[in-house]
């Protein structure tokens, strides 16, 4: 019987990992991911999982160990944040290029400098081209559900790509929320046994992995990866649908809220979507047709679906919890705008960079974004494309 419990995001991730019972976990601690690994290490010590836990000396080693273990045919999970994700950066590309279905739980924390342990998306955005599927969770229930789905997505025969499950540091990782956890059997039944594509311990037909690929071949290898990323869109939706059929909570690539007839729309990733819902409801009560589009799946980028969802709005604000330091606005802004432009959806789009380094995002601040949106919709054009929410000295 599913149970209602109160867990932090880190606790929920660890619980999902316990029930998945992976073959190998190789991880290194970093705030705010630490509690996931601490909790999981307790499970290992208590003998409630059969996982081989490898305490490595750095995150670069963690991901390297994960690549080795996944290539050997072991179901492999790890977790990190921020500098840890950055430290394993080169190996992320290797995991994806070698088509290893590793699941990484990334607790979003900003990249230094300046040093800061709090939430923003600069870490995962910095790895958006590494070839990893990226999913962003709004609340602790979704963290738990998505870690379980991630295993199925990564290991799907049309995909075989590593999956990064993102949850906002401290906001989700350290906040206790109410969630329903499934039975161990239910999770086991959902993830099923691991059938690897790369199986270095196959003694009948021993393969070799990671060979040098000269210029005549490299491009074709990369394209095959892109095709898998593209197919992942359908797989992510299908797995989310199956999860809903079995357990009552359905997930997809996007999560629209009161968007169908909205004039003014906010596009947002992660926990801030929760605040946005409250703001949307309040505006609706006051007769303003506000709506929100939460992007759950950022990689692969569901361009078709996003453009379709935003078509018909009078003005859209794209929220970015990371900048690009030299790009025009944040990463989500760039990609959403490109998706709209390519499909001939020309409507006024503004960017708000917000919440960097864990800066709190109160409802009143999001309400001000909608006020600005109202002005843009009224004028029918963008006054200023790139904006900064609650930045002192900027106006």
């Amino acid at each position: 019987m599913p149970r209602l419990v109160g867990l932090t995001g880190d606790g929920a991730a660890a619980e999902a990992m316990r029930q998945i019972d992976p073959d190998v976990v190789a991880a290194y601690p970093i705030t705010p991911q630490t509690e996931i690994v601490e909790r999981f290490a307790e499970f290992v010590a208590d003998g409630v999982v059969h996982t081989e836990f490898v305490a490595v000396e750095s995150e670069h080693s963690a991901m390297s160990a994960c690549c080795g273990s996944a290539a050997a045919g072991a179901r492999t999970i790890t977790c990190t944040s921020s500098q840890g994700l950055a430290l394993m950066h080169e190996v992320l590309y290797i995991a994806a290029g070698n088509r290893l279905p590793i699941v990484l739980i990334n607790v979003n924390r900003t990249l230094s400098a300046p040093l800061n342990i709090h939430c923003d998306h600069s870490d995962s955005m910095g790895s958006r081209d590494s070839g990893w599927i990226q999913l962003y969770c709004e609340n602790v229930q979704e963290v738990y559900d998505t870690v379980i789905q991630a295993v199925r997505i990564a290991e799907h025969p049309e995909v075989f790509l590593p999956v990064m499950v993102n949850l906002d540091g401290f906001v989700l990782s350290h906040s206790v929320e109410r969630l329903e956890v499934l039975d161990d059997d239910q999770v086991r039944g959902f993830v099923g046994p691991f059938r690897p594509a790369v199986d270095l311990l196959n003694l009948e037909n021993p393969p070799a992995l990671g060979a040098l690929v000269p210029p005549e071949f490299h491009f074709e290898h990369k394209y095959a990866q892109w095709v898998a990323m593209d197919r992942a869109r359908g797989v992510i939706a299908e797995v989310g649908r199956e999860f809903g059929e079995r357990f009552g909570r359905t997930y997809g690539l996007l999560d629209p809220y009161r968007l169908d007839d909205a004039d003014l729309a906010l596009v947002v990733l992660g926990s801030t979507a929760g605040t946005a819902r409250v703001v949307v409801d309040d505006l609706r009560d006051r007769g303003i047709r506000a709506g929100m589009l939460r992007i759950r799946c950022f990689r692969p980028f569901p361009a078709d679906e996003i453009a379709e969802a935003l078509r018909g709005r009078k003005a859209v604000a794209i929220m970015d919890r990371a900048g690009t330091q030299g790009g025009e606005g944040g990463p989500v802004f760039g990609e959403v705008r490109a998706a709209l432009y390519t499909r001939g959806v020309f409507l006024p789009v503004i960017n708000y960079i917000y919440g960097l380094g864990g800066r709190d995002v109160p409802a009143a601040s999001l309400a001000r974004v909608f006020t600005h949106l109202g002005q843009v919709a009224e004028a029918g054009k963008v006054d200023r494309a790139v904006n900064y929410l609650d930045l002192r000295g900027w106006n």
């Binding site: 594509a197 790369v198 992995l209």
Partner: protein, 113 residues
């Protein structure tokens, strides 16, 4: 198993696959090599600009050249060094350098025998 194809993705300057280079969907998933040890088909001997000359009359089959050769290109049969694997010798000259016997292994200019 999601193996795109059983065809191997070999293709060297010397011996490309008969019908041309494979398309992206003809390459095994993740670039795994499904034939163990197929590096032997890549004939790196074409890279030579110098070549080792083995003199069997002076050679004592001490095996030092065999031990040092980075390409496993010293041919040994019945405990004797009998020659060079010219398909894979890159002409690095380590064998001639390490050979303790004067004249048993010397380097000559030009890669072709």
């Amino acid at each position: 198993m999601n193996r795109c194809s059983e065809k191997r993705a070999t293709g060297s300057a010397i011996a490309p696959p008969p019908r041309g280079l494979p398309a992206w969907f003809e390459i095994p998933l993740g670039g795994i090599l499904v034939e163990p040890g197929n590096a032997v088909e890549y004939r790196t001997g074409s890279w030579r600009t110098r070549r080792p000359i083995h003199d069997p009359t002076r050679c004592t089959s001490c095996m030092i050249c065999w031990l040092y050769c980075p390409d496993d290109a010293i041919v040994v049969r019945d405990r004797k060094v009998v020659g060079i694997d010219t398909d894979h010798c890159k002409g690095c000259g380590i064998c001639a350098r390490e050979c303790p016997v004067k004249g048993a292994m010397t380097m000559a200019e030009g890669g072709a025998y």
